[in-house]
C-alpha cells in the first residue's frame, strides 16, 4: 500500500470525534472497521447491492462501501454501535429484533437496524407494505424477512408509545458530542 498519498480527516462517529490519516481509496466501511475498530458495520458485496454496510452520514442512510473515507471528513456518522443507549440498554429496534427473531446469523442485522431507524424517523406509523419497501435495499441471506418486518412493525409501536422516543432518535444521538 502506498503511504505517500494520505489525507487527514476529522470525522465524528457515534458522537465521538476522530482525527486520522487515510488513503483516499479506503472505503468508509474500511475506515470504520479497520481504522476505528467498529466492526459492527458489515461488508457483504462491496458494490452497493446488499445494504449490510449501511450507516447514517449527516442524517441520511448511505452505503459505506460506496463512499470513500476521505469524503466523510467533517461528517457525522452513526453506526450500529451508536444505536444503544450509553447505559447499554438496547434501542427499541434492537429489542424488537430480539423479540421477533429478526436475526438468524445476524450478518445483515446492522444494516437493517440503521436502515429501519431512518425509515421510522421519516415514517413513524408505516404499513407492512411500506416497511417492506423501506427495507428493500437490504438483503438477508438467511431470508429472515418475515420476522424482520414483524420486528420493524413492533419497533414502530414501541417508539410511538415511548414518551421519551425523542431521545431514541438516531440523528439526535449522532449529533451528541
Amino acid at each position: 500500500m502506498t503511504q505517500n498519498n494520505l489525507k487527514n480527516i476529522t470525522v465524528t462517529v457515534n458522537g465521538k470525534e476522530h482525527s486520522l490519516s487515510v488513503e483516499p481509496r479506503m472505503l468508509l466501511s474500511d475506515v470504520l472497521r479497520d481504522e476505528l475498530g467498529l466492526t459492527g458495520t458489515h461488508v457483504g458485496c462491496e458494490h452497493g447491492i446488499c445494504g449490510a454496510c449501511t450507516v447514517m452520514m449527516d442524517e441520511r442512510p448511505v452505503r459505506s462501501c460506496l463512499v470513500f473515507g476521505v469524503q466523510a471528513d467533517q461528517a457525522k456518522i452513526l453506526t450500529v454501535e451508536g444505536l444503544s443507549n450509553a447505559d447499554d440498554t438496547l434501542h427499541p429496534l434492537q429489542e424488537a429484533f430480539r423479540e421477533k427473531h429478526g436475526l438468524q446469523c445476524g450478518f445483515c442485522t446492522p444494516g437493517f437496524l440503521i436502515t429501519a431507524c431512518h425509515f421510522l424517523e421519516e415514517n413513524p406509523h408505516p404499513s407492512r407494505e411500506e416497511i417492506r419497501e423501506g427495507i428493500s435495499g437490504n438483503l438477508c441471506r438467511c431470508t429472515g424477512y418475515q420476522n424482520i418486518v414483524d420486528a420493524v412493525e413492533m419497533a414502530a409501536e414501541m417508539l410511538s408509545k415511548d414518551k421519551k422516543s425523542e431521545t431514541d432518535q438516531c440523528t439526535v444521538q449522532a449529533m451528541q458530542p
Partner: protein, 290 residues
C-alpha cells in the same frame, strides 16, 4: 476488492474543477454521487488515476424555478429532487420517477448529473428528461454549451460529453396547464434497474382533446426512446382506453429490444406495449382531473 490507487482532488468551486479536468485530461474522472463509479472502482472495472470529487461544489446543488423552466444543478441529489415540494407541484413526473431509483441509501448520494452522464438506458432520469424535452448544460474552461437530450445521449453508457467537460445543469421547460404525467416500470425486485420503463406526458385542450402527448421508453435501446409515431394518433381526440391501446399496438413494429439474461426481446416488446398503454392512460386521466 479495493479500488486501485488514485490521486484525490476535492475542489470547492466549479472553476477549480474545470481546471483540474483540463490539467489531467484522460487520466481524470469526475466523481459525483459515486453510486455508479465507486462500484466500478471497487471491482476495478474503472481505474482512474485522478479522481475529482465534486461533492463540495455547492454552486452545483440547486433547484430553481422560473416562469419558463425548472433549472437543476448537476450535483442535486436524488433525495432532494424527491423531497422538493416545488418540483412535486410543477412537474410530478420527476418526483414519481426519482422514487423508483434504487433505494433510500442510493438516493442519499446519487445525483442528477451522475445519472445523466452515466447514461444507463434503463435509468429513470434520462428517460424522464427526454420525455420532458429537457436540455443539458456542459461546461469546460473554454466555455459552456447547451444540448438537447437527443444530442446528448449516444448509446449505452455513452454520451457526447467531451473529456474536458462537466455537466453543470439541466433545464426542463415548465409544463403547460392541463398536463398529466405518469411513469411506471417493470423490475424483478423493488428498487432494481428496470427491465422496461415507460413515462408519459399528456396535455389536453379546453375541450378535453389531446393537444400534445409524449411517450418515452427505457430499456429498449441504448438511449431513451421517444415514440412520436405512437402519440401522434392521440392528437385531437378525447383519450380513451381503446384509442390508447390501438396506438400502443404500433410499438411492436417500432422497437426491437435486445434480449439479455433477464428477458427476451419479445417479452420486452410486450412489456413496452403494456406499460406504454398504462402510463398514457394514467397521464390522460390526471390531465382531465386538473
Amino acid at each position: 476488492m479495493k479500488p486501485a490507487v488514485f490521486e484525490y482532488h476535492c475542489p470547492s468551486t466549479l472553476e477549480e474543477a474545470l481546471q483540474l479536468l483540463d490539467e489531467y485530461g484522460y487520466d481524470a474522472k469526475i466523481m459525483s454521487g459515486g453510486q455508479s463509479l465507486i462500484p466500478m472502482m471497487n471491482m476495478r472495472l474503472a481505474r482512474p488515476k485522478t479522481l475529482i470529487d465534486i461533492n463540495h461544489i455547492k454552486e452545483l446543488n440547486y433547484i430553481r424555478v422560473t416562469d419558463s423552466d425548472i433549472q437543476i444543478g448537476g450535483l442535486t441529489r436524488h433525495y432532494q429532487l424527491q423531497q422538493s415540494k416545488e418540483i412535486e407541484q410543477i412537474c410530478p413526473l420527476i418526483t414519481e420517477g426519482v422514487k423508483l431509483i434504487g433505494h433510500d441509501q442510493i438516493r442519499s448520494r446519487g445525483t442528477l448529473g451522475g445519472s445523466v452522464v452515466h447514461a444507463d438506458p434503463t435509468a429513470e432520469l434520462p428517460v424522464i428528461l427526454s420525455t420532458l424535452g429537457a436540455t443539458v448544460t456542459l461546461a469546460s474552461t473554454e466555455g459552456s454549451r447547451t444540448v438537447t437530450t437527443d444530442e446528448f445521449f449516444m448509446t449505452f453508457l455513452t454520451t457526447t460529453i467531451e473529456m474536458n467537460e462537466m455537466l453543470v445543469s439541466v433545464q426542463i421547460p415548465r409544463p403547460s396547464a392541463n398536463t398529466g404525467f405518469a411513469i411506471d416500470e417493470f423490475t424483478l425486485r423493488k428498487g432494481d434497474f428496470a427491465i422496461v420503463l415507460a413515462a408519459a406526458s399528456v396535455t389536453l385542450d379546453e375541450q378535453g382533446r389531446v393537444k400534445s402527448a409524449v411517450l418515452g421508453l427505457g430499456g429498449v435501446d441504448g438511449v431513451p426512446v421517444i415514440l412520436d409515431e405512437v402519440t401522434a394518433g392521440l392528437i385531437g381526440y378525447i383519450p380513451d382506453r381503446n384509442l390508447i391501446a390501438e396506438c400502443c399496438n404500433k410499438i411492436g413494429e417500432l422497437v426491437d429490444p435486445e434480449p439479455d439474461i433477464h428477458a427476451s426481446g419479445e417479452y420486452r416488446r410486450d412489456l413496452c406495449i403494456t406499460y406504454a398503454a398504462r402510463v398514457l392512460e394514467l397521464a390522460a386521466e390526471r390531465a382531465i382531473k386538473q
